[in-house]
Symmetry: C2
Subunit: 701 residues, 2 copies
């Protein structure tokens, strides 16, 4: 009591200093003032700003609960604790938690005294333990979910202070949801709603042991989940070299470009200093299911010195680091990892998802291997985006591609294209076979041609020597193809209109492959997709060339075959004139990455300088490259869908941007009536869960 | 007759060779086949393609007129000629044309015999001349426009073969239109409709003497009209140096950048190898009213050798060339020019235009001088776009700007900004004074910061020495500001949100200038415009800073003053959420250059590789950077206007892109209810005529 007096005295001085007023002695006054303090917190600057940014309107204020206190620290016959109705780490059905004898709730969490496991309470306070166990069982049954409960025993009497739905690990979420269905406590539909797509995503990737201490030296944007350890390399070349020497590497770059694909492919993970969730590094890494952190502005790379500095820590090439693709953190040294978990309940849950799902989920895959994984491991229902340009990277394939680009005239280009034809055909055969019975959407060549040429003098000299061409001529070609804003340049269908021989080669490769595998009994459903359409004329011209080639191949091969010709809707103008385009296009696939870039005027490669600030300040609620901007870009997607279906009611519509794997975006796609979403292989289960949840929340039509 | 037989025989052989068939002897058969040939021309490839591209539908075919022939070559009592009811070159009311005795129409135009001036016919065939003169007068009176007539006299009898409205020079168009009003033949409204905006544009610029022979060595995209002669220079630096030595120069560049402004300003004209009508060179040149040809892909510039090659002709630095900004042609040597013409009738016509006009026309001007010219010479009714960044180029102004960009923290930036404040204020004072009584829209800083820094090593070293900074630090800063797609990067309001001190300085400079000139009795109407808005939050934040500064300045100066704060609508998303933005913005100004770039996904700097092909092939009917794309971009402009006015009915709306000076675009702006258009000074009369014609064609409201 004397101690308490002392505390009260000190507190009164503090109050005097801070507010200039006296601390009231009257308990009623104390209570009144406390209530007023809570009520008026509604109008402090932070709260007002929060409501403005989040557009929370029409509320009249906050509320205050006033409650009598109980004391767990009133002697050895008292205790206090926190516990869960099931194990929140692994989902096992058991009481799980901590308690302390003669203590208040604060003491349990503050870490001054080490709390005991709840199981020991059974021996120490058997009557209370029994009461608590009963309360727990009743509360879980009542709320039909795992509960997180605070209790206090005051002089032998049990009080439940609070109950709420308990937080749990992804693993526990899946186990609990499935077991509760088996116990008859909830329905399958409820179980599906209880697991978040983000939890599924984490389950599919390795994580660092949460118990291992971690001291991040920098934090970037988590672009592709996972937990990886490896030695630092600063170039794709070094990555490939070190991996051949059996090292595990993490590729650290300012930014990546298509030239780095080889190195990215062999690296454990990728870390970049600039770029956002839709940067080249992020896109490619997600496609590969590879851990990736981008836009890590806290690291300053010095390529010349082969080192980077992060908040004072210098990391040299060869040093080992750990990268967390879920949190975006970078640590020095090797953290212990927990590998991907095999949980029986996961398979059961995903079975229910497939059972109740009404919207298709396809995958983005560019190789037979990826197609195989997506189909076999994740149950993708076709390919929504097969990017043909990725087929041209890699040792043997890039040479004829470069020859084609460096060619001076159509004849020389056709010679080089003839070499590319069998390479593409072979890849398509593999992909079609892997997707037996499911549609495959192949996109024609999209990136600007300069992406395939080396940009530094040394590589240009090497290439010149290799193909027996003048280095100056290569440098001149690179210079002539240089663009101020390549994102808005000579690419997509614009390439095919300038060089129709490229379209002819690609259409032939697709159709020959389709005929070949069909002859072997594969059920092949090719969909040929034209990128970057902005006018109907572009589509008409390209489509005419494709149909002409396909008709010829089908005749040559004597193999009747149905195929579709459609287009990406990624340029804002394409959405605006979707009614015109749908007259000729048999399907639409929304390319919401590029559409987001153009609708916002954001370059995905350059947003590092302002987007993190925008998101932090609430100017943007979310990164629009991660979650589709329903307010703006969404208007165009909806418009494109409605106008397209307005003239062609059976128009097949999907989405193939990165948003196809984002739960919120996928729900929007479902709500406007798309036929399918397409995402990288490792996100297929995530998307499946999200579209099923969307359907459960508001079944359409 | 023997000669005729010979011709017929040769013709029959020719027909046999070409068609494999016999030429028919039966005149009925000849006639029938001729008719069929014309009718079936409706379905030849060229005609079908033409109709497809131009979307001409629903027609059933073409028609054929069959007429008896008369022979002007049946002896010396016969003649044939072509004449106009007024002089088609200068508009004087006189019969104007040529004829030949004993000849057919073909002989007059073929140039084998030199035709005589029509006046001489009065002496040679007085009766026929009198008849022809009577026909001419009657036909002009009937059709109420100048006629272009073909006549033939056969054996003394006069026949009029054809009459049609006569083509005329811009000068003649103005003179004839005004004189016909004075003669009571047509109304003022009709006179206004008779002169095309393009003709007014040509009248306002010097032209090459059409009689001088010209041998173009290359042809580019005509970006800014005029006709200039000067010696070739390949850098802005050389331009300034040679002009100081009293030379007249033409700046030839692959492309221009803001660093070239000084050189562009002193050059007679500008010629670039790449870029379109909305490229930097084109925009700046039009703003300066300076002749400019862009995207001239036929010239290959070798900076190192200080020469360019055009279709085999080598032109070295110092060689004199002539550049035609109206046709896009480039000639070697000095062609004779005809200076801008002063025509009394032009002033009368523009007086009528102002009298009947219902939509305002403002100008884009960045300096007091331009503002003065636009107001005094062309009668601009305010400034629709004052780009503040142009104020930072030029000897003394760029130094503190660079200091600001290179500053490491806010404090250092503010020191540099304090130096920029008086510079901006002085410019604004000049502009406000020139626009006494008319609104001035000032746009806050728009381009990415790297545009203000030197990019080559040499200039960086010079700058380092000048400001006493490490050259490496400057190079690092330039590298850190580098963007993959600067068009979609850290610019516009995004800069102001990251560096609010820039907005504060600019708002202060604007408001101090406004208060200062108001104190001197100037009627000042400032409109502060935020560029590149894509979200409401961006506008709210920027507006709050502006209003805060302006309120303070008004208090400090004790000078009450009304001003508006509004925004550019140039990002597609801004048009889509215009209803949100209009809640806080007091005016919209459509920046249709950038909106065209983003809606089409075209970089104005890179379209040279495909846009000319697109226009030539009819994939695009017009260059969308020249004439607003009503089908696509126009939807966003209309949407932005309707949604904006939906929440703020008195929202002031204008357009300040280059389209503001394009007649067809201006008509669209009128039709959707904009308050004004804004264009470069030299296009103000063109825009005035166009909006008046639009109002006459379909009065609104």
């Amino acid at each position: 009591a004397e101690g308490l007096q002392k505390v009260v005295k000190r507190y009164k001085v503090l109050v005097k200093e801070k507010t200039g007023g006296e601390f009231p002695d009257d308990p009623r006054d104390q209570l009144r003032r406390s209530i007023m303090a809570v009520l008026s917190s509604w109008n402090n600057d932070r709260a007002i700003k929060y409501r403005r940014i989040n557009r929370i309107e029409g509320l009249r204020g906050t509320a205050v609960n006033v409650q009598a206190m109980v004391f767990g620290n009133s002697g050895s016959n008292s205790s206090t604790g926190v516990c869960f109705t099931r194990n929140c780490e692994n989902g096992v059905k058991e009481i799980y938690g901590d308690y302390l004898i003669n203590a208040q709730g604060e003491d349990v969490v503050a870490g001054i005294r080490t709390p005991k496991h709840i199981g020991e309470l059974e021996a120490e306070m058997p009557k209370n333990y029994k009461e608590i166990a009963k309360f727990l069982a009743d509360l879980e049954k009542h709320y039909r979910d795992m509960q997180d409960i605070e209790f206090t025993v005051e002089d032998g009497k049990t009080f439940i202070l609070q109950t709420r739905t308990g937080k749990r690990t992804p693993r526990a979420a899946v186990v609990i949801a499935v077991e509760m269905v088996e116990e008859g406590l909830i329905t399958k539909e409820e179980a599906i709603k209880r697991v978040s797509p983000a939890q599924i995503d984490i389950l599919l990737h390795p994580t660092f042991d949460p118990k291992a201490p971690r001291k991040p030296i920098a934090k970037g944007i988590p672009a592709s989940p996972g937990a990886v350890v490896g030695e630092v390399v600063f170039s794709a070349e070094d990555a490939e070299k070190r991996v051949q020497e059996d090292a595990k590497v993490i590729l650290v770059r300012k930014e990546t470009s298509p030239e780095d694909i080889g190195g990215m492919n062999v690296a454990e993970g990728i870390l970049t200093a600039v770029g956002g969730k839709a940067s080249h590094a992020a896109l490619v890494a997600r496609g590969m299911g590879k851990c990736c952190v981008v836009g890590c502005g806290e690291i300053a790379i010095d390529y010349a010195a082969a080192q980077f500095t992060a908040n004072g820590t210098v990391v040299k090439a060869g040093d080992v680091i750990s990268v967390d693709g879920t949190s975006g953190e970078v640590m020095v040294g090797a953290l212990p990892t927990i590998e991907e978990q095999n949980i029986a309940q996961y398979d059961i849950l995903m079975g229910w998802v497939d059972e109740l799902r009404t919207m298709k989920v396809r995958t983005n895959a560019d190789t037979p291997e990826d197609a195989e994984i997506a189909r076999k491991k994740f149950g993708a229902e076709g390919i929504g985006l097969c990017r043909t340009e990725h087929m041209f990277f890699g040792e043997e394939k890039i040479a004829p591609m470069r020859e084609m680009i460096l060619a001076d005239d159509t004849a020389a280009r056709e010679v080089a294209l003839a070499k590319l034809l069998p390479i593409q055909r072979k890849d398509f055969e593999g992909i079609f076979t892997a997707m037996n019975g499911y549609p495959v959407t192949v996109r024609l060549l999209d990136p600007p041609l300069h992406e395939f040429l080396p940009h530094d003098e040394k590589s240009q000299r090497e290439l010149a020597a290799e193909i027996g061409m003048d280095a100056k001529a290569i440098a001149d070609k690179v210079a002539s193809l240089h663009e101020m804003n390549p994102m808005l340049g000579h690419r997509g269908c614009r390439l095919g209109i300038t060089y129709p021989e490229i379209i002819r080669m690609q259409a032939r490769a697709i159709m020959e492959a389709a005929c070949n595998v069909k002859a072997k009994g594969v059920d092949v459903l090719p969909e040929i997709m034209v990128p970057l359409i902005g006018t109907l004329a572009e589509f008409s011209i390209t489509r005419a060339i494709i149909v002409d080639v396909c008709t010829k191949v089908i005749e040559e091969k004597k193999q009747p075959l149905d195929y579709l010709v459609g287009t990406m809707i990624e340029i804002p103008r394409a959405a605006l004139i979707a009614d015109q385009i749908a007259k000729e296009a048999q399907f639409f696939s929304f390319g919401t990455n590029d559409m987001t870039q153009m609708t916002f005027g954001y370059s995905r490669d350059d947003i590092g300088s302002f987007l993190p600030h925008y998101v932090a300040e609430g100017i943007l609620k979310v990164d629009p490259f991660q979650t589709l901007d329903v307010d703006g870009v969404g208007q165009l997607v909806r418009m494109g869908t409605e106008r397209g279906r307005g003239v062609r009611s059976d128009l097949k519509i999907g989405i193939c941007g990165e948003h196809g794997g984002d739960p919120d975006s996928v729900k929007f796609c479902y709500s406007i009536g798309m036929d399918y979403v397409s995402c990288s292989p490792y996100r297929v289960p995530v998307a499946k869960l999200a579209v099923t949840q969307a359907a459960l929340e508001s079944p359409r039509g």
